[in-house]
Symmetry: C2
């Protein structure tokens, strides 16, 4: 049993949700971070946005730099159990972002940065061949129920705009997209026909809808493409492949790179955060940490500085596939070259031998890279490389990544992290089974697995 | 499709199995380490054992120290793709063991040490209330099919001896036991009634049957027990609890500790290897790396030296539950205090919040601790803390641990490790789906998950 409770902040309309687990031994209930959102979507941020009024720059970074602690910052701070001033300072320094498009008032504010709890993103989205709008909204609800902190809508095919609208209006978590995918649909799927204008218009449309962060592969520069030629797995990022094809066909610098400042102006008007894409990330452990990957990373560092000149929030995407001994270097170079902007990594997978289990091959890498400082982890499901994730895959991916994120929170010593483990361990040691189940990341499965034949003595092995 | 092939060593009866995966692009097939054993059990080591003749010391360590490269060492070396002399030297130095009871001629030799491929152990065993002998033999076959390098028979209840006999006679992998469990059954389940004599006789019986390594909790000394008093989860090791209860009830030093040299003499006659148990391992991240755990570890170091004086092979068991930032210290202290004897760890679980997913919470810790030098990993299944593993759980545990072990092999740069990943990555990049499936750790599941609707383009995410 878990109860949804709210902690009220400095104003009555600032109500922060928690999942509260009562304990049978009379000790205080445990409050857990809650991403599930209200039963009915509600524009919780409407008043805060309206009070600040319109402007050409409405970003949380803009306010943070002016010393303003927004209600969003306070909300995120209460969730973390940390002072609002810390949230403001970390955002002001560029070390954290609070993705919060002014047109997505339904989102419950959260903060992404290495000083805060490690966050998990789940990808969903219709494909050209399968799934409906309702199914994708159901996946959103499902993913956030299990703890997804943000959701990326990677829909392609027909009804892409309608799907996104439904997701945004139902989502209490920030929504990310890759606008290049929709731009490509507009030009009939031919990368060569892409242009700055098509891309820009797509970005504006999505920003108007309320997308909170957008992946932009502006680091795939013309000169970087040949660096991937000798790889075992070439360019595996879809966005990276598209931009590489465009650059080579036109033999021109990427329009995302040359128009980056204009993009910043658009992002500033809505408070869209950049998720600077790693279009040249490795697609196999063999290609990890190579010249192509790191050339792009240096460019992402340059672009970070430009975004910050516009008071636009930035995080940096990272790989992908990396053997364990090369993981730390990824964080160290990202932090150095990108001036400590938050890192947001896909896995990484630590081996390529286990298709159907890449939620596990990558949870290992995700836990480690988060321990070293990655702020948000993009989940990988068991269907990675094989097919599109269904409901069970989404859950498996989110659970594996919540484990990785929490393991990293413990390793980094987040002040609120260990309370959860200790409460569960006490319940386990005292055979308070119901408390143990209720405290579990997945109470239903833990309860279902419990075998009454297990001797009432300390567990056999661990 | 995989073919079982044999590589013949320096003598015709030295035939080393591999699982060979043919590739559709005409490149050389990939040979994978094969633990599955022959279809019909066969005493492959019989002639080698007979040729060496009887003696009071027949251990691989005994021969290695005399510069003798046994057929077992050569067999293990061919499996690893490494020189036989390296296997001999590592065993001679105590940095590796080759568990091979002279009464278990059916075992295909393998080596456990940090210079070699990381190994995985799977626990099976009947309980008092469930399962039959045939079911346990089926679990053995199932576990080794998925790659278990050794199997521990933790049977309790009736028919314990019969179960062990059936497992040994069917097993091509080394078998480990915890003789204390059977000794406890002999005294009606009351730890206080245990004695050196009952324990010794049990060990001899099991050694006669052919058990290759035995967990002995000789490091749980009387003086260590109070060190666990302030823990959140006390003593969670079953063997540790039993010995602590005995020490406290008698207020005497553990008979395992005081009779350790006699135990060594028995082990030397059969070549049983010690797996020095960590009876005081932490049962929660809160208790990791504490005084109780490390006091025991120091004692295990002393006992290692005594075993080595008798030319008896030794590995050291380790935790358990350890947050990521405390994992490396476990390996460093174990290597220092136990004179580089191989480390054999259970997980460790990196967080306590996810019962039903502890194969994942612990695969993270297992991969890391193996990267730092642990030689063998004891698997954890999804049923850990909740119930007894069934067939699906055994598979889930073995697969998660093969991933962890292989990820560590890559990170440590084992010379044969990356070939497998690279072959699979090439197949993936070239859309050779059947090659990709056949190279997968679990070909059937990968094939089943493959979604024909996936666009024929680089995968969407990783």
């Amino acid at each position: 049993m878990r109860n949804k409770v709210y902690v009220t902040g400095s104003r009555p309309d600032l109500r922060v949700p928690f999942a509260e687990v009562p304990l049978s031994d009379g000790s205080a209930p445990v409050r857990l971070y809650d991403t599930s959102g209200p039963a009915t979507p509600s524009p919780v941020r409407r008043a805060w946005i309206d009070e600040r009024g319109p402007g050409t720059n409405v970003t949380q970074l803009h306010y943070a730099r002016r010393g303003i602690t927004t209600p969003e910052m306070e909300f995120a701070a209460i969730r973390e159990g940390l002072p609002p001033a810390l949230v403001r300072e970390e955002i002001a320094a560029g070390r954290a972002i609070l993705p919060a498009n002014v047109n997505h008032p339904e989102s419950e504010p959260m903060v992404i940065g290495s000083r805060f709890l490690v966050k998990v993103n789940a990808n969903i989205g219709t494909s050209a061949v399968t799934s409906t709008v309702d199914e994708e909204v159901a996946k959103l609800t499902w993913a956030t129920r299990w703890g997804a902190d943000t959701v990326m809508d990677l829909s392609t095919g027909r009804r892409i705009r309608e799907t996104r609208e439904a997701i945004l209006r139902h989502s209490a978590v920030p929504i990310g997209t890759v606008p290049l995918y929709e731009a490509l649909e507009k030009v009939g799927g031919d990368p060569v026909k892409l242009s700055w204008e098509v891309f820009r218009d797509t970005v504006i449309e999505q920003a108007e809808q309320g997308v909170d962060y957008m992946t932009v592969h502006a680091g795939v520069r013309l000169a970087h493409v040949p660096l991937a030629a000798e790889r075992i797995t070439g360019i595996v990022s879809r966005g990276g492949s598209i931009m590489a094809a465009w650059c080579l066909a036109h033999h021109e610098e990427s329009f995302l790179y040359t128009h980056f400042a204009e993009l910043c102006e658009i992002f500033a008007r809505y408070d869209v955060s950049f998720s600077l894409g790693d279009g040249l990330r490795p697609g196999s452990v063999a290609d990890a940490n190579d010249a192509a990957q790191f050339a792009e990373l240096r460019t992402l560092g340059e672009l970070t500085s430009i975004a910050w000149e516009h008071d636009v929030q930035v995080m940096i995407e990272g790989p992908g596939h990396v053997p364990m001994h090369k993981i730390k270097e990824n964080v160290d170079l990202q932090q150095e070259w990108c001036h400590e902007a938050p890192f947001y990594t896909l896995g990484p997978l630590t081996t390529d031998i286990a298709p159907a289990y890449d939620h596990i091959t990558s949870a290992i890498g995700a836990a480690m890279i988060a321990m070293y400082g990655t702020a948000m982890l993009c989940y990988v499901t068991p269907k990675e490389h094989l097919g599109l994730p269904d409901r069970d895959d989404v859950k498996a991916g989110v659970i594996a990544y919540k484990i990785a994120a929490h393991a990293a929170d413990l390793a980094k010593g987040h002040p609120t992290a260990r309370e959860w483990d200790d409460a569960l361990s006490r319940a386990r040691f005292e055979f308070r089974w119901e408390d143990q189940f209720n405290l579990s990341l997945d109470p239903e499965t833990a309860r279902a697995y419990h075998d009454e034949t297990l001797p009432a003595a300390p567990a056999k092995t661990a």
